[in-house]
């Protein structure tokens, strides 16, 4: 596959590293020295020039390529590159990296003609909320314009009617399916005789209403984490705050720049925003920062994050999570006692690589450290499964949770029939992704 990559920064080079073996790569960047560095390490083509220039893209031979990955750190460059690409070669798939969550929303509403959008901020925010262990849905993702929701839950309550009963007899919320039961290292197939036990982690595919019902049934009302302090109200800080606030967690944001602090106070009415450096012990003491359940360090400077995190630990913060900008810092941070270090650029690159491996997959949610994936695949007419009833589909560990037929999401029962052109939203172990794609 011929792939164009705009941007040879951290994200670009991580993608190159992952894809250079299997694919033919061309990297476009304005910075010649960066291209030289990457070109000397891998067998790829490099073009020096502005990725948002049509002439540059044309001359570089974009026409006929199969995928464009626009992953510079500038949103507008990425979007313009994808627009030119669509105009030049409509068949080429496009991936855009953005730092702005608004573009992500615009894309989800199908107002941005791009095949896939990845937001580093969103990735970081998800990683943080997962790390903090928000005991409601660990991870939720929306498919088919929000009609289908995938949630991953830790079962904590002995919910009567569900927990401890064979699945075929259990009173499951309507319009939902248990896709998988994860018990320690074991993965149990959700066959009829299987039971859900407290301590299990389950993956559910269903309507948003059913997802809410599930969350209510199997997770306790009490929260372990209720008070999170975020240092730095940049885009990542704000995205993280938003994700946590949505879960009903109290968020305190600390921002040194008064203008930015005011802007964020406007943006997030529910967050408590402080104009402070976060390294002033008197401030930390007065605001009882030490009583926070977790602190997230999302300032621009790794060294500052490191210092602030150490100070927060001294003040008694239980759990510290740092956003790092340099891959080297991950080790430094974790060795020095910071609980988790998250590199948003790396996450972004990984997401893009996952998409690049199979462009038919419209949206990919990674669950359980890459062991499972949710695929959104359109069923080909020649698939051997077309015309079969759902109860007759082979049990191989993969499960179709919902199909989107026309614009409508359906939650199939055993007697329903799979049709060509259905968008199947299915849950599958990572090892079987290729097989599933081939079959469908």
């Amino acid at each position: 596959m011929r792939i164009f990559i705009i941007g040879a920064g951290q994200v670009g080079s991580t993608i190159v590293e992952a894809l250079h073996d299997e694919h033919e790569l061309t990297v476009v960047d304005e910075d010649g020295s960066r291209l030289e560095a990457i070109g000397s390490r891998f067998d790829i083509g490099t073009v020096e020039g502005n990725g948002a220039s049509r002439r540059v893209l044309e001359n570089a031979g974009l026409a006929g390529s199969e995928l464009l990955i626009a992953c510079t750190s500038r949103d507008e460059v990425n979007i313009i590159a994808s627009i030119f690409c669509r105009a030049l070669t409509p068949a080429t798939r496009t991936i855009v990296r953005t730092g702005n969550e608004e573009y992500l929303d615009v894309w989800k509403q199908r107002q941005l003609d791009v095949d896939w959008v990845v937001s580093s901020e969103r990735e970081a925010a998800l990683a943080v909320s997962q790390t903090i262990g928000v005991p409601t849905a660990r991870l939720t993702d929306l498919f088919a314009d929000g009609q289908v929701q995938i949630i991953e839950l830790d079962v904590q309550e002995p919910a009567p009617g569900i927990v401890g009963r064979a699945l075929r007899d259990a009173e499951l919320p309507a319009d939902s399916k248990v896709a998988s039961i994860i018990r320690g290292d074991e993965i149990a197939m959700p066959r009829g005789e299987e039971t859900i036990r407290p301590g299990d982690r389950i993956v559910v595919i269903g309507s948003p209403k059913a997802a809410r019902e599930w969350t209510r049934l199997v997770t306790p009302a009490r929260r372990d984490v209720d008070d999170v302090v975020i240092y730095g109200a940049g885009q990542i800080g704000v995205a993280t705050a938003r994700a946590l606030l949505q879960q009903g967690i109290r968020v305190r944001l600390i921002e040194a720049n008064p203008v930015r602090a005011a802007a964020v106070a406007d943006l997030l009415p529910k967050a408590r925003v402080f104009k402070a450096t976060g390294t002033d012990p008197e401030f930390l003491e007065r605001e009882r920062i030490g009583q926070a359940d977790a602190a997230v360090f999302a300032m621009r400077d790794d060294a500052k994050n490191y210092y602030a995190a150490t100070l927060a630990k001294l003040h008694g913060v239980q759990s510290t999570i740092a956003i790092v900008h340099d891959q080297v810092s991950v080790d430094v941070f974790e060795r020095a006692g910071i609980d988790v270090a998250i590199n948003p650029r790396l996450l972004t690159a990984e997401e893009i690589v996952r998409f690049a491996r199979d462009p038919r997959t419209r949206q990919v949610t990674m669950l359980e450290q890459d062991r499972f994936e949710i695929l959104d695949i359109t069923v080909r007419a020649e698939s051997p499964l077309v015309g079969k009833r759902f109860r007759d589909l082979p049990m191989t560990g993969s499960l179709i949770g919902a199909v989107v037929r026309g614009e409508q999401a359906l939650f199939p029962h055993g007697d329903d029939v799979l049709q060509a052109g259905d968008r199947a939203i299915l849950f599958t172990p990572s090892s079987r992704v290729q097989e599933v794609e081939r079959t469908l």
């Binding site: 925003v273 104009k275 007065r286």
Partner: protein, 499 residues
């Protein structure tokens, strides 16, 4: 260096134009006088004087297409003084003993245009109907605003209309319905006219079908003309008391509407978007305050045995709504109510209606925002680094607007205190039978453009016993209250007149 940097002559010019056209409104009482065979000439002469004054003022000065930000304050302040002058002319010319003294006439006219509803009349029913309809009409014209009307109808005043409108429409922030100020003014007036017609129609139906045998089409018109501007003048000696329960409930409902934000009412009624109104934080607080204070008064009336059942509910709802929306109409003589109920009625005078309504006083939104400002102050005392915004309907409110609100409320309290003190002192000077509560209520009622006070100036009483000095004080209070003090107050500052 010029001594005065404000275009005074240009402002006079505009005032002249507005008065010239306002004189046309005398055609209404002329029609009534002809129909009822009452003396026509006071209105004809008043119209002629007003027209000539306006025309002359316009000719003697040179105006411009637009009015400046600075001039707007002067124009608005002077227009209202001049309008009250025009309003007073028919009273003076009529030669009616109750009202023909120039000061009394001016008081009555100012009370009319500012939609206060305080009266110096002692026997309303002895007045000719044409004069009474003029009295009602002044309130109707003043309710939505003379300038707003001028802006909607007059061909000039294209540019700079916004400043004028902002000074006249009550409330801290003015919501534009359309991009062009003129269209907004027209729409607001159209809604105002439509609601007035609706009320006339409903009450007329009551009159024709005999649901209310005291009601007549004339009374329906007269009371609609003073309910929608939250004015409160009545053509009946005992106000709304003489009408049936059904009419009183209808009037209550229209008072509630008149105290709501007209821009939001417009969207709800005309554009069929009720959500912005229902979700509006000010509207919600407005309704809540009405409900809670009504409940308090019902409880008091019931337990004290003043009234029971539907009568207690109706009397409390009518009176609380009337006082809070600054209408000032009376369905009963609440002078005789227990002290607690009376104090609640004085307290709600300070609430006022919503911003962008025809109501006077402080306005609910200012109370709401001051509450939030205070809450933030307390928060910042404990957490000095906190950055937080005061929000209204989820939208952050500009810090400058918040300062202006604090400034307004301080001024309002200051003017009220000075006014109340002046009334007490003057009452003592002329040995008037004036209790402290009565004086306080009289100052609050005129500054808030409400209407009735307590004691001799109560709902069934008259402001006539006040001395001339006190009447003058109250004229100023009504004028200040209608224009929300600031446009007048800035005229007193040196910085206004200098470059």
């Amino acid at each position: 260096m010029r001594f005065v940097s404000v275009d005074v002559l240009g402002s006079f010019n505009l005032v002249g134009a507005v008065i010239k056209y306002l004189s046309l409104s005398l055609l209404v009482p002329i029609a009534f006088a002809v129909a009822y065979s009452e003396p026509v000439w006071p209105f004809v002469v008043a119209g002629a004087i007003g027209g000539a004054f306006g025309w002359g003022l316009e000719r003697l000065t040179t105006g411009k297409e637009s009015v400046g930000v600075r001039e707007a304050f002067l124009v608005v302040s002077l227009t209202w003084l001049a309008a009250a002058g025009l309003g007073a002319l028919p009273y003076v010319l009529s030669g009616e003993d109750q009202i023909s003294s120039p000061l009394d006439a001016y008081f009555e006219a100012m009370s009319g245009f500012t939609t206060t509803g305080a009266t110096v009349l002692t026997d309303v029913e002895a007045m000719p109907d044409s004069l009474l309809i003029w009295r009602q009409l002044t309130q109707w014209l003043g309710g939505m605003g003379i300038i707003v009307l001028a802006l909607a109808v007059l061909p000039r005043l294209r540019v700079g209309g916004r400043q004028l409108l902002e000074h006249e429409l009550p409330g801290p922030e003015f919501e534009q319905l359309t991009a062009r100020i003129r269209d907004t003014a027209r729409r607001l007036w159209a809604l105002y006219v439509a609601l007035t017609f609706a009320m006339v129609a409903i009450l007329s139906v009551f009159a024709w079908t005999g649901i209310d045998d005291r009601m007549s089409p004339f009374e329906a018109l007269a009371h609609a003309l003073t309910t929608l501007p939250t004015g409160g003048f009545s053509t009946e000696a005992r106000g709304v008391e003489s009408f049936g329960a059904a009419s009183q409930w209808v009037i209550t409902a229209f008072m509630v509407m008149a105290g709501a934000n007209f821009a939001l009412l417009y969207r709800a009624f005309v554009r069929a978007q009720p959500r912005p109104l229902i979700r509006d934080e000010e509207f919600r607080l407005y309704i809540t305050l009405l409900a809670v204070t009504t409940a308090l008064v019902i409880g008091e009336l019931w337990t004290e045995g003043v009234a029971k059942g539907e009568e207690a509910v109706r009397a409390a709802a009518f009176q609380v709504t009337s006082m809070m929306t600054t209408t000032g109409a009376a369905s009963t003589d609440f002078n005789t109510w227990p002290l607690f109920a009376a104090i609640v009625l004085v307290a709600v005078m300070f609430f006022g209606g919503s911003a962008g309504s025809t109501a006077g006083s402080v306005k609910v939104v200012r109370h709401l925002l001051i509450g939030r400002i205070l809450r933030r102050e307390l928060d910042q005392t404990v957490h000095p680094e906190i950055v937080s915004r005061v929000r209204l309907n989820g939208v952050p409110v500009d810090e400058r607007t918040l300062r202006a609100i604090l400034g307004f409320v301080l001024l309002y309290i200051g003017v009220f205190a000075v006014g109340a003190f002046a009334l007490v002192a003057d009452g003592a000077r002329v040995d008037l039978d004036l209790r402290l509560l009565d004086a306080v209520a009289a100052a609050a009622t005129t500054l808030g453009n409400v209407g009735p006070a307590f004691g001799f100036a109560g709902p069934m009483g008259s402001f006539d016993p006040f001395s001339n000095v006190s009447k003058l004080v109250m004229i100023v209070l009504m004028w200040l209250g209608r224009l929300e003090i600031i446009p007048v107050a800035v005229l007193l500052s040196r910085h206004y007149w200098r470059a």
